[in-house]
Symmetry: C2
Subunit: 637 residues, 2 copies
Amino acid sequence: MSDRTEFRDLASPEEAHETIADLDVGGGTETVALDEARGRVLAERLEATIDVPGFDRAGMDGYAVRARDTVGAGEANPVELELAGAVHAGENPDVTVEAGTTVEISTGAVLPEGADAVVKVERTDQPDEGTVAIRTAVTPSQNVMLAGADIAAGERALGPGTEITAREIGLLSALGVADVSVRAPPRVGIVSTGDELVRPGEDLDHRAGQIYDVNTHTIAAGVEEAGGEAVTYPHVGDDLDELERVLRQAAEECDLVLSSGSTSASTVDVIYRVVEDLGDLLLHGVAVKPGKPMLVGRFAEAAYVGLPGYPVSALTIFRTFVAPAIREAAGLPEGRTATITGRMAVRERFEQGRLRYMPVGLVEGGSRTEPDSRAAAPRESGAGETLVYPVDKGSGATTSLTAADGVVAMEPDTNELSSGERVEVQLFSPSVRIPTLVGCGEDDPALSRLLDQVERPRYLADGSRAGVRRLEDGITDVAALSGPIEPPSDATEVGSWTREWGLLVPEGNPDAVEGLDSLVAADLSFVNRPRDSGLRATFDAALAHLDTENAADEISGYERAARAHESPARMVARGDVDAGLGLRVSAEKLGLGFVSLGSETVRVVAAEDRAGKPGVEALATAIDDETVFESLAGYEP
Amino acid sequence: MSDRTEFRDLASPEEAHETIADLDVGGGTETVALDEARGRVLAERLEATIDVPGFDRAGMDGYAVRARDTVGAGEANPVELELAGAVHAGENPDVTVEAGTTVEISTGAVLPEGADAVVKVERTDQPDEGTVAIRTAVTPSQNVMLAGADIAAGERALGPGTEITAREIGLLSALGVADVSVRAPPRVGIVSTGDELVRPGEDLDHRAGQIYDVNTHTIAAGVEEAGGEAVTYPHVGDDLDELERVLRQAAEECDLVLSSGSTSASTVDVIYRVVEDLGDLLLHGVAVKPGKPMLVGRFAEAAYVGLPGYPVSALTIFRTFVAPAIREAAGLPEGRTATITGRMAVRERFEQGRLRYMPVGLVEGGSRTEPDSRAAAPRESGAGETLVYPVDKGSGATTSLTAADGVVAMEPDTNELSSGERVEVQLFSPSVRIPTLVGCGEDDPALSRLLDQVERPRYLADGSRAGVRRLEDGITDVAALSGPIEPPSDATEVGSWTREWGLLVPEGNPDAVEGLDSLVAADLSFVNRPRDSGLRATFDAALAHLDTENAADEISGYERAARAHESPARMVARGDVDAGLGLRVSAEKLGLGFVSLGSETVRVVAAEDRAGKPGVEALATAIDDETVFESLAGYEP
């Protein structure tokens, strides 16, 4: 029985890499049809078993001749040969080229017996039906591809380990190979643990703390990206006997078993017991953040790695430590270089003492020439450069998966990255491309639609005040601000529109809310938006105009803040509150009553040096187009 | 009816690009299950329909508290709270946190009613069973992820056009999305024409000029690489009614129809007629080499492009002109940058007047420092640089598909690339990687096996003399030379072995061949190896030792040269000749008689500045290992 205190003897990341590399992650061979072979990896050397072409083949449309019959022929003094017949591609020649004769031949046709060269049709003419005038001399084999000249039987055609692309499919076809022996992808079983997990598509019980199972599908996709075959096992709850049964089944059926999820003591104990019953637990915890609770072991026939439970952590550890072993077993080339160098847009501090993988986003800096660009010290602002900013929406946030482009590995002996410092970013995959537009600000349904017109936009709807802060930090290209929130003085306006706001109430307005006064006077429960929201600032400004002093104090729920523009509407619809701050468009979408309190302006502004970026220009064009506003209730361009 | 003379009015490559881009290559939308969504492209904006998390969620193992109850708590002066119960992940809390009480809580569990923060377990202890000592103060929401903090209902989650990777699968899972609306791949029909084509796996009749159908499978794989769905139509022979029927069927069933193969006048006439019956022929021929006979047209419901017949030409034209339209229709990002800059290893001359795509191979130059590296003019030899060499095994060679790494586009107004000139190579795909070893020389079955130990080797078995020439040209890293062929004086030996050679005769040696004398004396038909072969040089040296003067003239078939080491053996086995020049290993493989004439040495030598390349070192290690030689008859290390 393993001692759980061993968790404290963390293995180094290098040990973890080596231990996983030493596990046998399997991968035999299998035979697939040519049409299924694309993307697979050849298991064995392939030698040609036939000559290609299989016969001496005409390389041109023209006339098959004996080369020696054409000696001395030229434009001025053609040699006349007797036309003895014709051969087309795919025909067995029924004619022989004797001295003084010729045979009409098509490209690809079999060179008839007796002939050893082809004169191309452009260098001939036919003075009469039975005669061909040859206007050039040819040498033996001219305009002929000899049997085996492309590749001959016994020659090496392709080596083991070759990845099969369209080009290899071409060569295999030419050799007549219909079935190909390829490396079998390693089978990777995925067992997610946790009583709270529900499969996507099923219903959630929020009250019971249920969440959708993220890791099973994410890691399965990661396994496939690495060339493995993912086998997902129904997630197991807190039934420890069931967990043990599933682990044993996965160990039997797969080359590698991954578990992720619950790190509860009792679950980990079951995993320890099963792994040690069937094989060995080799590593208990690794000195890396995230990923400390990583387990590495061996079953009788399978390898085992336990991943952390949070999705971003699980995927980071999977990519860093596990994917290379799967690629190796699948015979796929080591991951192509997928790093990019950039400068930190902001300072980042962190605890030292452990290798840390920090998820980061990327943004292209502006192209404005810095006035003091001749200064020797690295500039904090990166004109035209790739800027790197930390993405941390908190442990367990799944949106970090798509808000980040890669990770920066931070060494254990440092505790700070300064703004402007050069860092190397390991992209999540070689196909990651930098967003053309990075923005932050007000959550607005029109903006959400406008962003559809921009290629690869990234937008954080953290509120207008957050938008200003991020723009000032030099991270974002644009900010969307609503109400009284003022942009930084050097920002450039990209476009603007107005939206109708007010109080969301249940359908039919059962409490007969008439405006802000009713909210203050009646004992209604209310839900507000967060402090960073521009709409909240608009609401506060309206409250300040009321006769009631400190009207906010009179509103029950004024401090209750719901994150997104639609959140208050949903709370009203669910009956959680009597009224909420929101937009006409949300009331219409959810079939609620709406008490209009006015219109506020939403302005999109760009950092001065980013206004010319293609993504910013695309957004400006989309705003100018106005069609989005026509489709949304309460909106005006 | 179209006038075929229009072929002479060639369209420019730009017109061809534009015409194809303007064709509607289709691509609707379809719904796929989450597990099938990887690699697909989102058809529509996706907004969250639930809050994630759906409840206020504990971010730590610890104790749920009312933050105001912890005011003033610290290590020295803990606050004691009454333990009122426990909540684990996936449980519906059955307890409320009243003032002065606390509830044990697990990471991921629902924050119970009344509580607004979590104190992590490390900052607490339990003086007795019913009491918890809180040793730190917490603020409201501390260690809690509020409902919707990750993403809230109504927020923009993913935009249209997003390629779905493991990360997007993670976000979709978190949102509970089980089915995803994605872009449907355009259906691309492939019709290969040509009476001589046979499907891989079936038997070929060489005498009738049959060859395997290469283009159907190659282009189908290219279509899939570009994100399309390939639909292959049984290849059609010279039956023009059948061709018309298949074209009409493909036009009805597909978004884009590609034909390739026969450019015979009658076939082209049928294609013209069908395209013009159903729609329009838009382009007849393009000023590009290869690719002149390219056709572009429109059926009623489908686009049409006619590709050239030779596989390398067909694939080059497909990649250059057609793949971008398929990627666009599939919603896949424009092809990632897949170009590499290198220097021409040799001079290449060509006819000017038309844009030309030249297939090229790549090789890493050596790292030796050039003595005159300070010279201003570009050096012809590229120490440590990527060198580019033309690959031209002749029109119709399928091995060019795998012998090349990409193409160089040569402008119509030039007719030469000089050695050392910088060129940009368009790689066949972003995953193309430069061979670690490029060699040329003797065709040898041991070498063929030794190359299995080298990553991505490329070897042309064009004979020992070709090996010397290519090494001197600075193209190859190594040459394999056999018999009396001498390496360049500055080459470095990598390794060597010997192989037993002699005369291959039918099983049982029916003509009682005893040696070279019998070959000269008896009237036997013989097959030799090509002039570049080292084995032929060994044979010539042995003939020179005979008493017969000009012995070669006495041998019937001395000038008949079979390309590969095994080719003479196969001719003997087929009964085409009475005897052939070859190796004991070939005789044993094919069950032939063998008259030994001695052993010759095969030497592998490296260019002086390439001997340290990893590929060369891997080959040296494989030669030293000797196991390959033990498995081959007649071989000695």
